[in-house]
Amino acid sequence: MTNILFFKATLLFYFLGTALFLLSLWDNRKDRGDASQTAWPQKFAIFATGAGFICHTIALGIRLKEGGYVPLSNLQEAVSFFSWAMVIAFFWVEIKYQLYILGSFILPLAFLSLISVAALNNTATPLNPTLVNAWFGIHTILSVLGIVAFSIAFIAGVIYLIQDRFLKSKQLTTLYSRLPSLDMLDQWNRQAILFGFPLLTLGIISGALWSQYTMGSLWGKNNSKQALSLGIWFFYLLVLHGRINIGWRAKKAARLAIIGFIGVIFIFVTLA
């Protein structure tokens, strides 16, 4: 039961972090051009996120100890893990680039995914224990990490379109001055997909192997999830090919990252 308590504390802290990060978007102080500067809402937001992350880690740890297996046996746990990995990604980006403004985009996503599974709490059914083996754990971890990478590409794409719009419309607001450059966003997009694609590939392979061990075939019959996953895999393959060989970069790449992510979330939520 303690893990539920920590889980609720996590939700509370992430909510605070999200609210403060969103508040900081409307911070109109004249810190133009200095994106690394932090205002008080951001400072508190980072603090709340840190506290939430600690609670989240403890909750996941307790779950692991109680269940005796990697806590990824159902959608709810997978989403919780996704949200936890997103927060890690957030801290990694913060430390590397000191762009606190990104919290305003990453944390709401982490919070929303976590709150949505909290709402699903009662309906979630644990997976048949016989289906849970090492391949399943590997499959889920790799897939979720892949999705985290695609989420980062998605966020980079969204910010790219926002920044592009600011530059085109010549509305050089305070927010414009605090968002990173188009080139940097495009680089993140590229790197996140380059990072996410092998994870997705390995996730699909390990999923097939798990299917082989549990159901005796690499490819489940009428398995729409596998088919759609393969579809997404081809989509990202095309995106990478387009970027490297045809020049699908900049605005086009941003749009593609957004479309891809919507597909990923659709599969993740409806068919997990």
């Binding site: 133009r32 051009g33 920044q163 530059l167 085109k168 010549k170 050089l172 414009y176 990173p180 450059s181 188009l182 080139d183 940097m184 680089q187 045809i246 020049g247 699908w248 970069r249 900049a250 605005k251 086009k252």
Partner: protein, 437 residues
């Protein structure tokens, strides 16, 4: 004798006339000699930049002077006739000419108000004239004054900030598009003052290669030297855009040089790499439609000015402040200039001598006690004749030489030798105060 300016600038003349009239540095000496060859021109100076060609001169007779200078300008390029250029010419004399000179030096007359290059160009023009000894006491004083006025305007108003901040704004925008400017390349179409200023900022911020396309290839070569850049022919600029991340256009062409279709091709060939266009030409030389294309960002001079924090109101205030400084300085210069006229000088000199004579007689009369009427007359006669004898030659020379080539120097020397400054000033006030009321 009068100070006159005849010239044309970016507002009055299209670029092809400006270009054909402009005088390269190498030919400046001959041009100056040719100008001052005519006896009506006492002193002469030529200012030739991308945006203006102006002749500033001291002439014996104003209207005759105007005609001579117009003829001189038209004769500089055989493809142009006087009829071609006359509609583009402005002419100023006396205090209007001084005002124009001060405004040009202070960059109030520039295409981008406050750009700092013009003062350097004005100094260069002045140096050329001094080197070839075509200026004299009046233009020397006028240009020294113009330079000091420009410096005063620069330090006392924020006018210079606006031009610097425009190129700063362009760099900031480029950074928001490209992140880091290291390794990026820029193409300058047109090689005017503002292009130079912006290029300096770009290079200072890491831009690695600069290519310069200009209608006059020589000018492109000249500017390219400053930035280790590559000059190209104006016809080749479209192909060059494919390689360029930033395109700065200040060509001053009468219509759009860069059209949507061309940019569409460029973007395709660049494989969607973003491209940043800056159009500082008036009228615009880049079709505004291109801003609608993906990965193309177009900013014109107004957009840049808007993006700079200082708002239009405060810029207007600064310009007004600058105009006030100029008005102030004109008054003091014009006072000096008028003092060079022979008549007030002669009057002042006579007054000065008479004042000294009177005060000395008074002192002597007190010492000598009661003098008879005859003695008094003798004293008067003696002093008056000494003064007259002493002043006879200076006054004759002044009257005779005032219209010679040395005239102004003689006037100036007289003023200094006899310390006539205060007297001339008071006279000036007497003349001018009623007008002011």
């Amino acid at each position: 004798m009068n100070i006159v300016i005849v010239g044309l600038n970016h507002r009055t003349a299209p670029v092809d006339i400006r270009e054909r009239l402009s005088i390269p540095d190498s030919e400046m000496g001959n041009a100056l000699y040719k100008l001052t060859d005519n006896p009506v021109i006492e002193e002469g100076l030529i200012l030739s930049t991308c945006n203006r060609v102006e002749v500033c001169a001291v002439v014996k007779e104003t209207h005759h002077g105007f005609e001579v200078i117009k003829q001189f300008l038209a004769s500089n390029n055989h493809t142009l006739s006087l009829e071609n250029i006359t509609p583009s010419l402005y002419i100023y004399s006396s205090s209007k000419a001084i005002e124009h000179l001060f405004r040009v030096a202070s960059s109030l007359d520039s295409m981008i108000v406050g750009e700092p290059q013009i003062l350097g160009q004005l100094k260069d023009a002045f140096d050329h004239a001094i080197l070839h000894k075509t200026t004299g006491i009046i233009l020397n004083k006028a240009f020294k004054k113009a330079i000091s006025v420009a410096k005063r305007v620069r330090t006392e108003t924020k006018i210079a900030e606006s031009a610097v901040s425009i190129s700063f704004a362009a760099v900031e925008l480029a950074k928001k598009i490209f992140g880091n400017l290291n390794g990026k390349s820029a193409l300058l179409i047109g090689a005017g003052e503002m292009a130079e200023l912006a290029a300096r900022h770009f290079v200072g911020n890491g831009i690695e290669s600069i290519t310069i396309a200009n209608r006059s290839y020589e000018r492109a070569v000249e500017l390219a030297k400053n930035f280790n850049g590559e000059p190209i022919k104006i016809e080749d600029f479209e192909a060059e855009m494919v390689k360029s991340d930033i395109v700065l256009c200040s060509a001053g062409a009468p219509d759009y040089l860069i059209k949507t279709e061309a940019v569409k091709n460029v973007i395709g060939l660049r494989k969607n790499r973003p491209i940043f266009f800056i159009d500082i030409s008036v009228p615009r030389n880049i079709d505004p439609e291109i801003n609608a294309l993906d990965n193309v960002f177009l900013y014109d001079i107004d957009d840049l000015q808007h993006s700079v924090q200082t708002n239009i109101e405060s810029r207007k205030k600064e310009a007004l402040k600058a105009e006030e400084i100029i008005t102030e300085e004109i008054t003091s210069f014009v006072r000096w200039f008028k003092s060079l006229d022979a008549v007030p000088m002669i009057v002042a000199l006579k007054d000065r001598a008479e004042n000294i004579r009177q005060s000395e007689i008074e002192k002597m009369a007190n010492k000598l006690g009661n003098l008879s009427e005859i003695q008094k007359q003798a004293l008067e006669g003696l002093t008056a004749s000494i003064v007259n004898k002493l002043l006879h030659n200076p006054l004759t020379v002044l009257k005779k030489e005032v219209h010679s080539t040395n005239g102004n120097m003689i006037l100036e020397t007289t003023r200094k030798l006899f310390d006539l400054e205060a007297l001339l000033d008071s006279e000036e006030k007497e003349v001018h105060d009623p007008n002011k009321k």
